[in-house]
Symmetry: C2
DNA sequence: CTCGTAGTACGGTAGCCATCGAACTTCGAT
DNA sequence: ATCGAAGTTCGATGGCTACCGTACTACGAG
């Protein structure tokens, strides 16, 4: 009944983003790869569009972790959901961090 | 028997440093604080000089983690050991990362 | 040599978290 | 209204790791 917008939609505003949480989110290989894929041409990806070797439920878990850390944003779009990198917010808080991470050879 | 220099002294050379490992090392609050303390005036700290709320053995564990990730270097000095940030190597591999992390308000 | 200090090694424990499958929800299409 | 596709939620599990105390090693001072 009038259900709240689902915890899934919650994400911190810029001032709530903490470096410890961001680093923890980026520290997982799968999530790091997801961030790399989001960084390509600054686009938005649906959940199903990520190319990572995990199950659908695990993917949801990683997206939630990234979103709650403030690394990505998400908005529902029909039956799917679009995700994007919060590059502006991250650059403002931790200038150079994202670029440094993405500069790594892999 | 000419014991080897102890695993504790081993650390990766620049080309062996991997971003995943570095991020994992930085993702722990205690280790992040240690890195912050090392970053102050680019100095060297003995193991005992870190101001963190963990036991001596745990401190050793964190120093090993940071060293094996390539975040810090260490050299024995008498009965103590000096630790320093490998800022040059990190900046070369991941330009901006360290500055971004250290720029975070805390 | 003896003693104290600095740090490491070891074994054990508790808590976290990445992972999965299955069940559920939501939305668009037919 | 039904169906299917896209995500989410839930519960369980295994592995990793931060943490500690104790025992040990290495070095310098006296």
């Amino acid at each position: 009944m009038s259900a709240e917008p689902a915890a899934a939609y919650r994400m911190p505003n810029q001032s709530e983003i903490r470096i410890e949480t961001v680093l923890q989110a980026l520290a997982d290989p799968v999530r790091l790869e997801m961030v790399r894929q989001l960084a390509k041409d600054d686009g938005e990806l649906t959940c199903g569009a990520f190319d990572v070797p995990v199950s659908k439920s695990t993917l949801t878990h990683h997206l939630r972790t990234l979103r709650e850390a403030g690394v990505i944003g998400g908005r529902p779009q029909g039956t799917t959901r679009l995700n994007w990198l919060r590059r502006k917010d991250l650059d403002a808080l931790f200038p150079g961090l994202l670029d440094g991470v993405l500069a790594a050879r892999h």
